[in-house]
Symmetry: C2
């Protein structure tokens, strides 16, 4: 008889049920042709005795093999290895190799080398720079969870839990239309809204609908990297225009329009990403006029509308768009917390319909339970109260952050104190490089991150964007202290070099 | 003076704050050149009196205009319309036209005519056919919400709430790897898992990584429509092979591989979508051997693994893959409820890394709070208990559904009772057409839906897929009664036709 007792190794403390362990080992033996077709298997009682397992385990194993077609049962004769199984060609049979992290792969796939590829793993005691993120410690997480649970207790909530609208929950669309009309001067109905998973999906869908190979899209000389990547992945031509203290140069956009057909202009009008400048009123009108004349779309990404410290927020381009040129993108991710992936596209309804159609093939639909939670959060006024609360905190963090930067690092950094948003655009003195700083920073447990991404066009501005909103007062002091040590280190190295 | 009193119309019961209404009407007047550059605006007190509003409203309005750059303030002289504003060219200024649902649009975008375009709105009293969905009334919604809230109350939960892993929550990946190893015979680590938003995103990302223009992908003659669409959107060639009672014809796949280079085979091995047949063991081995020999990927979409009524589920192809050829896709959407958009891709880690990279540009990341909720749900054994519970219910629904169909409609339908899943593959007698039935069904408040999508290859099989799991006993009887009325109606029309 086949040496079952020697060959089978069952792990009684293992995670896999015994019958499955047994079945899988049988399958391996069959695939390796150690058990050849038409071999008769021992009776369940005999095998159970041999392996010291319960007979039921062997019966379950045989049933599994039967169902999977590895064996066949011939009445009154017994169980046999299936006679017409082809041979499985395998190089090795060590179980741990199966789909393991050793990265064995039997097919080719496309990789996009243009993509950022950093997967930073948080390290104990390290501080991480970010490009302007809200502080999740200020999020009313428990309030939102309470609302979520209340909504889930509704008697008829099951109606919202199946495959539903591609556009997002209808109640949220109605409430959001009303809220944006009131607060941002829009004049929209729910038909103009597609609920997305944050701004990112809004950019993705807009790019997909607007751009095909060799289509032209205009962006800033500096621009939000993820937007650039989305456009490039459509194989579109990225045409860059300068950005000055009034935002994108609309004169340059006009010159381009005179020569080429343009499908769209991507603009972060409120606070340009990454430089934080605001698009001036003149340029806003100019841009809207150009869009009308040259029939292109303005993708207005209003990613941090809510945060203005010196005045009320400036109304978006979308609020002045009478010709249907603006695709307006926003989200609650910056305002509440990134974990809540709820954003929106506001556009003419024909565009919204097609975007919804395309969305079906990405993730089918949103999370109606979370969408209803935010419907309640907005309608109850809690969102506005939250904004009011964090605005005060972020304003004082900005003030402290900027004054410390100014007092201690004026010889290495130059910057304008931002009027809004959650980040400072920090230009490094030409004699220093972010590369060196990033390297030395790790010694002082500070992670600078992907500084290169702020200069996609490789113009050498030597600036990066640093968020201040995530740090409380103590952490701001700590960050500045680490920066001090880093620059002391760098300066002493220089000093050594010249002596 | 300019007739402010006549021209301004403020809606005191409106949703928009008065100062914003006022500011927006100013902006319109400026854009229409009814108020020309360098015009001096009346003092705030005077305008407040004219319009019978509080002076603070006018001050807030002027501040808004100033900030937006529409007016300029000259010390000791007053507020003037900005002198260097370009003219805004607009066709009309009726506010309701702005981005309204009248669908005015000022740019062109691409539409994909291949997409399904039905947005069915539920109508009172109607029954809707589906292609196999779980019954959300059986979902432990409140238990999950309680867990969600408990997780949100954790002191350090804020750490999970910012921008996080592109791969999904690490705890869930560890728990899921363990769970799938135990229940599906896999042998994976967390590095082999990308958490997605349901199977749909898994298919989307796989298509994106595997396929470019003119690449070949093999699918069934009948196939899941959304998968077909995803592959076609990559401009790939869809090569169809026959599906019989043993699933995809692997002999045909071999013939194709001998002639052409193939990037992948999409297979719903457990229950073929839409016909519900299971891929036989011989073909499983054959397919794995072909993948190894010809170096292609097998996209194994195991969308309803958990539901088998006659035996335990059949282990996926991925459990026998020693060569790294299988991309295994699954989700909890069918098992728990579609609203919980949590799915996964299991693949060699190099593929998972690139998929995570691409995912960044779609929706950035998943919902860590929901992911942690499901981590708890799986680890605690609640998921398994839930599956056990609903299995019993769905089995008895299947039995009732199929026996009523057999007893009452054997002259119009033929079908095999499915061994698993949540749907029946129902072939209509050739003398009837789904088109007619769908039309007449509406009279009896039954919506058949997009029956055409089950025959993408236009082979004329005259069959559709009907889910039984969403209906309780009473609803199954109700559905059958409506079907009876529909066929009586059709048959009596035929009768009339021939007399």
């Amino acid at each position: 008889m086949f040496p079952y007792k020697t060959i089978f190794h069952l792990d009684r403390n293992g995670n896999q049920a015994l019958y499955l362990q047994l079945a899988n080992q049988f399958i391996q033996l069959i695939k390796e042709r150690k058990l050849v077709p038409e071999t008769k298997l021992p009776g369940s009682r005999i095998l159970a005795d041999l392996l010291s397992v319960h007979r039921k385990t062997v019966v379950a194993c045989y049933e599994e093999l039967l169902l999977q077609g590895w064996v066949e049962s011939i009445p009154k004769k017994g169980t046999f290895i299936n006679s017409n199984l082809p041979e499985l060609h395998q190089q090795n049979f060590i179980e741990k190799d199966i789909l393991s992290s050793d990265n064995k792969i039997g097919f080719n796939f496309y990789t996009d080398i243009s993509l950022e590829r950093s997967f930073l793993k948080p390290k104990e005691g390290f501080m991480y720079l970010n490009d302007g993120i809200s502080d999740a410690r200020l999020t009313p997480t428990e309030d939102l969870a309470r609302t979520y649970r209340r909504i889930c207790s509704r008697k008829d909530i099951y109606k919202e839990m199946s495959y539903g609208s591609l556009f997002g929950n209808e109640k949220l669309r109605i409430t959001l239309a009303d809220y944006l009309n009131k607060t941002r001067g829009l004049n929209i109905k729910k038909e103009n809204i597609l609920i997305t998973r944050g701004s990112q999906m809004g950019i993705f869908l807009s790019a997909k609908l607007l751009l095909q190979k060799d289509d032209n899209i205009i962006v800033g000389q500096t621009n939000y990297t993820s937007a650039d990547t989305n456009f490039l992945q459509r194989n579109a031509n990225l045409i860059r225009v300068n950005v000055d203290e009034n935002g994108l140069s609309t004169d340059e956009i006009e010159e381009i329009c005179q020569k080429k057909s343009i499908k769209g202009v991507y603009v972060t009008s409120h606070h340009h990403h990454p430089t934080t400048v605001t698009l001036s009123a003149e340029r806003r009108i100019h841009l809207l006029n150009l869009a009308k004349k040259y029939n292109f779309a303005i993708i207005e990404d209003d990613y941090d509308y809510d945060f203005n410290y010196n005045h009320s927020p400036i109304l978006p381009l979308a609020s002045h768009d009478t010709n249907g040129n603006v695709i307006y993108i926003g989200s609650v991710c910056k305002t509440v917390a990134p974990v809540y992936r709820i954003g929106y596209i506001i556009a003419p309804s024909s565009f919204v319909n097609e975007a919804a159609n395309q969305r079906r093939f990405i993730d089918r639909q949103g999370d109606a339970l979370l969408e209803l939670t935010f419907e309640d959060f907005i309608k109850s006024g809690d969102l506005d109260r939250h904004i009011k609360k964090v605005m005060k905190v972020y304003k004082s963090r900005r003030d402290l952050f900027c004054s410390l930067l100014k007092d201690n690092f004026s010889d290495v950094f130059s910057f304008d104190k931002p009027k809004g948003g959650m980040a400072v655009w920090l230009t490094l003195h030409k004699k220093y490089s972010w590369k060196t700083i990033a390297k030395i920073a790790r010694k002082y447990k500070l992670e600078i991150g992907e500084w290169r991404r702020y200069d996609n066009a490789k113009i050498g501005h030597n600036a990066i964007r640093i968020g201040f909103a995530t740090y409380n007062e103590e952490e701001i002091y700590e960050l500045m202290s680490r920066l001090s040590m880093i620059f002391n280190d760098i300066k002493s190295q220089e000093f050594t070099k010249f002596t």
